[in-house]
């Protein structure tokens, strides 16, 4: 176990040094990523300037949602990119080589592909979250900060789990993967707003099937000290909801292991 962890860090270090070889490109790409993901918050700001409020929510609160989900997604995207692009390994048959090595598969898939280029979205989410924290009329306390961090970690686990599921699907088909974008990128878009504004079927989908609400809406209710107006969930639940994101990741890895056992190579 310790051995694997050390290996993981070494591989990540290699990836880091490798991506830093093109420093100017790295800086430019980070700025570009920062700006392009930042345009989203500009349009949210413009809408709030026109409409003033959204179903009883104000801009700072929506900015808080926005910060949470973008941080989670940026973390998952950076760490889990190996699973995101896993179908290429299957298509080219390179996965066979990983199977031959006496090391964990998840480690081999994820570590070399860790991306530092996603820092742009991360920074942007962090900035928006900080701005929201300054604007919100909520007393800052250690439990609330803790719950915010818990939500970000839970969200990162959830998105990571989605990438792992996408990789699992690649064992059977490499054609339908774009559909997963609806729950990864689409999930990010959805989670930028309180889930209470959506239609009931849509809310249920993002609560029970892909539990985005558990890593944004419920913990945010806990942090903001609001009660759940649409589903009436108890307030103790708001404080433990992000754990469901972690459980989702665990379940996704189980599915992945199942997929690995049924893997048939593409051939020579």
């Amino acid at each position: 176990m310790m051995n694997s962890l050390r290996l993981y860090w070494r591989l990540v270090g290699v990836a880091f040094r490798c991506q830093m070889q093109y420093r100017a490109s790295f800086v430019l790409f980070t700025i570009g990523h920062f700006l392009s993901s930042g345009m989203e918050i500009v349009s949210i700001w413009a809408l709030f300037a026109r409409f003033k409020s959204l179903g009883g929510w104000q801009l700072p609160e929506v900015a808080f949602f926005y910060g949470l989900i973008n941080l989670s997604f940026a973390l998952a995207e950076g760490i889990g990119r190996g699973f995101d692009t896993f179908s290429n390994l299957v298509k080219s048959g390179d996965f066979d080589r990983l199977l031959l090595r006496p090391r964990g598969l998840a480690l081999q898939v994820s570590a070399p592909e860790v991306q530092f280029l996603r820092t742009g979205r991360l920074l942007q989410g962090l900035l928006v979250l900080a701005w929201a924290a300054g604007k919100l009329h909520v007393a800052r306390s250690i439990p609330r900060v803790g719950l915010t961090l818990f939500a970000i970690v839970g969200g990162a686990c959830l998105f990571y789990g989605l990438f792992v599921l996408q990789a699992t699907m690649a064992f059977w088909s490499t054609e339908t993967l774009e559909l997963m974008n609806t729950v990864t990128y689409g999930g990010t878009e959805t989670g930028q707003y309180p889930i209470s504004i959506y239609k009931p079927w849509f809310r249920r989908f993002f609560t029970f099937v892909v539990p985005i609400a558990c890593v944004t809406y419920f913990p945010a209710l806990g942090v903001l000290g609001r009660s759940d107006a649409v589903a009436g969930s108890p307030s103790w639940f708001h404080w433990i909801a992000p754990a469901i994101g972690v459980a989702f990741l665990a379940a996704s890895f189980r599915a992945w292991c199942f997929g690995v056992r049924h893997y048939c190579s593409t051939g020579s």
């Binding site: 989203e40 809408l47 959204l54 009883g56 774009e178 959506y198």
Partner: protein, 262 residues
């Protein structure tokens, strides 16, 4: 068939091959359209002040956006980018055809082919679901002409981006900048009238609104019929400016380009 028509039809047909991608893309578009429609409906639910567009128009705008989002020139032509990087562009230059027209025909096909695959089913579904409404013959005709002008404009953008490859070699940086500008200022993220009134003059002065905002607002009736000819003229004028700029840039780059190899 002129070489330009041939280039157009070859590119068009090769892009039609990606049908599996189109189906997956179709589902993704529908999903995103639903999200955005729900967000706008929620915004409108609690509003008292008059808005620049009514909800029906915004929903139609959102679905038109889902159908025609490939109108936005995101990137330089990938194949030509490869040619320039590898130096094979020298062969292109030897051909007895006009370089700009050749790339421009490719760009029009790149813009129209995915559209014909994706737009038709999405338009049909939104019509059946009642998200789009019948705009009347006159706005529809205006919209069709304006959409065509938008395609010409978009292709002019694309070709210009492609030509800048002679200077930058890697298309990544320019792609990021172009996509930020085009996404925000064309209206695909939110309809342009929703930006603050103090910014409207700037949006009107830029060419990006001709890609999305103008044809969609003609179709939804948010631009009055009397203004339609002026708007289309402005789209075409911007196209002319970008084509001229592209031609000048190409002429300069051809003079200074150095191709390596034996």
């Amino acid at each position: 068939m002129t070489p330009y028509q041939a280039m157009f039809s070859a590119r068009f047909r090769s892009l039609l091959q990606y049908r599996a991608a189109a189906i997956a893309g179709f589902c993704t578009q529908i999903f995103w359209g639903l999200i955005r429609m729900m967000i706008f409906s929620a915004f409108y639910a609690g509003v008292q002040e008059p808005m620049p567009m009514d909800l029906r128009q915004v929903i139609a705008y959102v679905w038109l956006g889902q159908a025609f989002f490939t109108m936005i020139p995101l990137r330089p032509d990938r194949d030509v980018e490869g040619l320039i990087r590898s130096g094979n562009v020298a062969y292109e230059m030897l051909r007895p055809v006009d370089q700009y027209n050749l790339w421009y025909s490719r760009a029009i096909a790149t813009c129209l082919a995915p559209m014909s695959l994706r737009a038709v089913p999405i338009l049909l579904i939104s019509l059946v679901a009642g998200w789009l409404y019948w705009p009347g013959w006159l706005p529809l005709a205006g919209c069709a002409v304006s959409m065509l002008a938008a395609a010409l404009l978009s292709a002019a953008f694309c070709t210009l981006l492609t030509i800048t490859m002679f200077w930058t070699i890697s298309g990544r940086g320019i792609m990021v900048i172009a996509s930020i500008l085009a996404y925000t200022l064309s209206g695909i993220m939110i309809p342009l009238p929703f930006f603050p009134d103090s910014m409207q003059w700037l949006l009107n002065a830029l060419p990006f609104r001709g890609l999305i905002d103008v044809p969609f607002r003609i179709c939804t009736g948010s631009i009055a019929a009397g203004q339609v000819p002026m708007e289309i003229a402005s789209q075409l004028a911007w196209t002319a400016v970008l084509v001229l700029a592209g031609r000048m840039l190409l002429a300069r780059s051809v003079r200074r380009v150095v191709v390596q190899g034996g």
